[in-house]
Each structure stands twice: as structure tokens, then as C-alpha cells.
Symmetry: C2
Subunit: 358 residues, 2 copies
């Protein structure tokens, strides 16, 4: 054990006022930049505060002004780059607006309404991100009590909504596969209505329809690695892999697992089968063949959500949903010529480069 001394409670505005020889009102004004305080007085207050290591109690301020100056974020229990980027975008924007961020993780299945309810009491507004555990009912209830936004989540009329573009981009991606001469194109991923992957599936169907083609195959699985391996096993087992010439996957994770498993079984990607992903994860660049995918401006989604929430708190009404553009990132797995994975050349599109590091 290193030390027994736990920090003493910090000074209050009263002690600062006493030490500076002024009233607490003056101390308060000094810290609230607006109030008019004589330079000498201000100086004295600042000095006293410094000496006392004064830290204003946010709770007291919140109580007095009836604003916590904090935003809540609800995320699923997932530590992938997608949510991390969303969160970073959100936090950056919030902190620039002078707002704190209170994070709550809610697993997709467990409906811990309690957690969210508690969160509600400490923030001025809440953002629900994608597959966060909270169900639509919870979101609706929250939206009735506080400004609320949703990101990549089924829309609720009472909340502002943000999405990355899915359908149109999926159509273009699928058309690109068609341009490579592929005709028997399958889709992998759970196509629930209202979900991102559901919309991607729609776009895929749009493209096929436009070309007068039928969907070759649809495997409804969770967009996770394990499911990708299972899908690949199945395709190999029932020989379906030979009746396909392309596979549009709901996300990179699926695509990567499928490619890895198929490659191990001797299926050549893209020669025998083109495969595409979605999300442009880091692995997509380094995989062999490098993965054609879609980059979403996820941090923009986070940023927009925070700004919208701040506006709502300041009295703005709910707005129509906003969609952020996505960009195709064409690499080798769709049949395009391979490009070595260099940072500079890995960003052929105009979308901002993803931040991913340690």
C-alpha cells in the first residue's frame, strides 16, 4: 500500500468568497464569463480560487440552472471500430460545445430500461446508437422526456434520425459487380426492415431488378465473424459456391471470414467468386485479396448527432432524418486490379480516411 491519504473534499464557492473578501454572487459572476466584475475583484477571486484549488460542483450548477450540460449516449456492448469512431465523433463535437458525455452500454438483448432511465436523470438529451440494446419503446419513452436523436436506427417520429447512406450505395456496388460481368450474385446478411443491412439488401435488389436479374441467394445471418465462417462452410458443403459468381456481404466482418474460409478451400477470390464487404475496416486493406467495401463517414454521424442534440436542447424542433453519403472503396475482391496497401493509395475515394490506431 502506497498511501493512506484520500483526497479531502474540495472548497466551495463560500470559502472562495470569504477568502477573496467578496460575496458568493461575485465569485459566481467571475466564473460565469458574462457578469460584470471589476478587474481587481476578478483577480482577487481568481487568486483565492487557485489557492483553494476550487472546483465548481457541477451538480449544484446543474440544479440551479436546470441544465446538466451533459449528453447521454447509448451504445451496445461492442468494442469494434464502428462504435468507437461514432463515439469519438460525438465526444469531439460535444466537448467543443462545452457539453460532457455520459456513456451507457446496453446489450442488444437485455432491456435494462432502468439504466437508461437513470441516464435520463443526468443528461439534457440522449443519443441512441445503432443496435444499442434499448428497444423502440424505450427510445420513444425517452424521446417524450428529453431531446433525443437516433443514429443508424429505426426511425421514431419524436427523435431526430441520422443514417449513413445504404440503399443507393448498395445499388451502385452491385451494379459495379454487374459491370465486372457477374450475374449470379448472392447476398449475405440479416435483412431486417429499418436496419442498415436491410437497406443494403434493398439496394442490392434494386440493382438486380434494374438489370432484369434474379437474386441468386440470400443467407440471413448475423453480421459477425462466426456467422461468416458458417456461411462459407455451408456454401462449400452444398456446392452453392459454384453456382455463384459474386457475393454482396452485409459488412466487412462477414466478407472477411467468408473469404478466408473459401480461400482455404481453394476457391479463388475474385476469379471464381467476387466478394464485397461494408465498413472499410482496417483488415479490408490488408486482406489478400484486398476487400472491396464501402466507407461510411461514421465520425460525421457522431458529430451531427451531437450538434443536433445540442440544438434540440436549445429549443430547436425535431428535424427530418439526415443521411450521410457513403463511398465505394473498390479494391481487388470485386475483380478490380489490386492496389498495394499503402496509406496514401488506400483512399481512392473522397471520403475522409478512417481513424484507427492504438
Amino acid at each position: 500500500m502506497t498511501s493512506n491519504i484520500n483526497p479531502a473534499p474540495s472548497a466551495t464557492i463560500y470559502e472562495v468568497a470569504a477568502r477573496a473578501g467578496v460575496s458568493i454572487a461575485t465569485v459566481s459572476r467571475t466564473f460565469a464569463d458574462n457578469g460584470s466584475v471589476a478587474p481587481r475583484t476578478r483577480e482577487a477571486v481568481l487568486t483565492a480560487a487557485q489557492e483553494l484549488r476550487y472546483v465548481p460542483a457541477a451538480a449544484a450548477r446543474a440544479l440551479a440552472v436546470r441544465r446538466s450540460k451533459a449528453l447521454g449516449v447509448v451504445l451496445p456492448h461492442i468494442a469494434g471500430p464502428y462504435y468507437a469512431e461514432l463515439l469519438v465523433g460525438f465526444e469531439l463535437a460535444a466537448s467543443q460545445l462545452g457539453l460532457s458525455v455520459v456513456l451507457t452500454l446496453v446489450a442488444p438483448n437485455d432491456r435494462r430500461a432502468a439504466t437508461v432511465h437513470e441516464l435520463l436523470g443526468r443528461v439534457d438529451g440522449i443519443a441512441f446508437m445503432a443496435r444499442s440494446g434499448a428497444d423502440d419503446d424505450t427510445v420513444r419513452r425517452v424521446a417524450a422526456a428529453r431531446p433525443t436523436v437516433t443514429v443508424a436506427r429505426r426511425r421514431i417520429p419524436e427523435a431526430d434520425a441520422f443514417f449513413a447512406e445504404n440503399r443507393e450505395t448498395a445499388r451502385r456496388l452491385t451494379e459495379h459487380l454487374l459491370a465486372h460481368g457477374r450475374r449470379r450474385i448472392g447476398f449475405v446478411g440479416l435483412a431486417e426492415g429499418g436496419s442498415d443491412i436491410g437497406r443494403r439488401h434493398r439496394g442490392y435488389l434494386d440493382a438486380l431488378e434494374g438489370a432484369g436479374l434474379d437474386p441468386a441467394l440470400h443467407l440471413s445471418v448475423d453480421p459477425v465473424e462466426d456467422a461468416g465462417f458458417a456461411v462459407a462452410e455451408q456454401l462449400l458443403a452444398d456446392g452453392a459456391v459454384h453456382e455463384l459468381d459474386a457475393l454482396v456481404c452485409g459488412n466487412d466482418e462477414l466478407a472477411i471470414a467468408i473469404i478466408a474460409r473459401l480461400a482455404a478451400a481453394g476457391v479463388r477470390v475474385p476469379e471464381d467468386l467476387a466478394v464485397t464487404g461494408w465498413d472499410d475496416t482496417r483488415t479490408a486493406r490488408y486482406l489478400a485479396p484486398s476487400l472491396s467495401t464501402v466507407r461510411q463517414d461514421v465520425s460525421a454521424l457522431g458529430r451531427l448527432a451531437a450538434h443536433r442534440l445540442a440544438a434540440r436542447i436549445d429549443g430547436d424542433p425535431v428535424q427530418d432524418p439526415v443521411t450521410v453519403d457513403s463511398a465505394l472503396v473498390l479494391r481487388a475482391s470485386c475483380g478490380c486490379p489490386p492496389v498495394p496497401p499503402r496509406p496514401s493509395s488506400s483512399v481512392p475515394s473522397s471520403a475522409p480516411s478512417p481513424k484507427e490506431s492504438r
Copy 2:
């Protein structure tokens, strides 16, 4: 625009009390599980609260009990899996303890002491994670005011410290390379004292020393992708690559970029040059050759930090630093026989599998 109706301010304890025909003290007791309240009364209060959609104001409670029931986390502006996992571990533990998590991002360079100071006013304790922007002075100041813990960060006597094991594991990793017959082993990464990578470098030196060998090369660069490419360029340019037979990299990011660039130039990994990383990122599994690396139980670090913080807040004194074991993950890039990237077979060690998904 969809709706003009912004949520009305929620009911207070007074309104609930009035509606239930009791005093506010009774309402308070009803929600604080401890107080003794007659079943009928409790029922009436609960009903009234339900009907009024009562949400207790956390700020008022915090003010009254002089506890915010919230923990602060300071992270760098980085959206990689490492920090995400840390954060998830932390949040899970905190929420199980009934504590909220307030997140603050501070870039490594910018010393926004202001942000941290503000955070200080709204939480009962703070965790500083790894390369978070706050410098040692800031941490020290915070530690003087509130219970504080650090994770993978230079130790401060006033704060509890948590680390993943680095030195010993790096020694074992380097010895493994020696066992593969490698003798001219270089190190890539900034070896600052007190940093994780600095400790890994120490372990690398330990192994060489134990074998009576000299370090072949040390390139001090930031542990980021771009630096990895630059390092590879340089090794190729000055021919140093031919004087080495192994490279221990400070993290996966460096290793992956180096392998990719070297492979493009015809250098065979691991035949010509063995390369190892650190962190066991997802890409490590899918890279060709698959990357030998080290898995750290990052979410355990987060969990431990949260628990320690909670204990400190309850009056526990500062404890000695705690180190969490790391595990070698040997794949192909060190010279071991390759293993196909299947989820089940990709986890040869006993460490928990990393969560990474979307």
C-alpha cells in the same frame, strides 16, 4: 420538420408527493430502498411516479449526498479497438456498481487542463487511460483532489496504477524468436521510459542479453501505420533489411504495415525476416502471413480500474500497482507453422478472446 413539440420538463418529487398524498420525504424513502415505508404507501407513490413519468434529478441527489455516482474516464482522441475494449470493460464494471461513466477525450498533445478540470467537478473519481493527453502534472493535480487511477500509464504515487504485463512477455517473445534460430533481431517503436512500448523494449533487451546477443537495430517511431510504412521504406532503401532476421515491433499496427510493404518489395516473411506485433488486433489473424503477436486482457484492465476507483471512493487507500498477464499468440510471422484464421483455432492461448465486431 416533423414535430414542434419539445419535451416538457419532467415532474419533481414534490408533484409526486402531492399526487400520492404523502410528503416528499416518503417519496424519497420509497425510491431509496432502505427507508421503511408501508406497503400501501409505497404502492401509491410508485403509481403516482409512474403516472407523472417521474425521473429523479441526479444533480439534486448528487448535491444532497455530496456524491455524483459517476466516474470519469480520460482517453486520447483515438478510435482503435484498444481503447474501445478498455472503455467497454470499464463501463460494464461501473454500471454493475451503479455508477455512470463520463467520457472525456483529450488529444496527446493538447493539454486541455480545462476539460479535465470540468470533469473533476462532475465525478467522484477519474481514470486516465494510456496515452491520454493529460500530462503527469494534470494527473497529479487530479489525484490530489479525487480518487484517481491510471491504466498503462507512467505511475504517479497518488494514483492506483494498472498495467498489462510487458517486459516479461516481450522477453518470452524475443526468446521465442531466438528459439527459431534468429540472431539479428531489431526493435521498432518509441522506447520511452514508463510507456508500454518502453517496457516491451526492455524485455526484448533482457532476452538478447540473456543470449549474449547485441540488439541489431532500434528504430524509434510512433506506433502508427504510417510510421510502419516509413520504417519499411527505410529498411529497404539502406539495405538494413538484409542484415536482420527478425523484427520485434511495438504493436500490430507497425508490424502489419511493415510486413505489407516488405512483402510488396519481395521480402519473404517469415523466411527472410520474422516479424512480431503486439495487441492481437483482428487484422493480425487475417494477414498473410498471419501475425505472431501478444494478447493483452484489455477489458480486464478496464474492469479492474473501475472497481478500484469505486473502492477508493468508498475510502480505500491507494494500492500498489497491479499487472495483468499477457499471452503470446504465435502464428506464422515468427516462423511457426501457419494456422488458418478460424475463430476457434485462432485462440491457442488461455486469454479471453477479443471482442471486435460491429
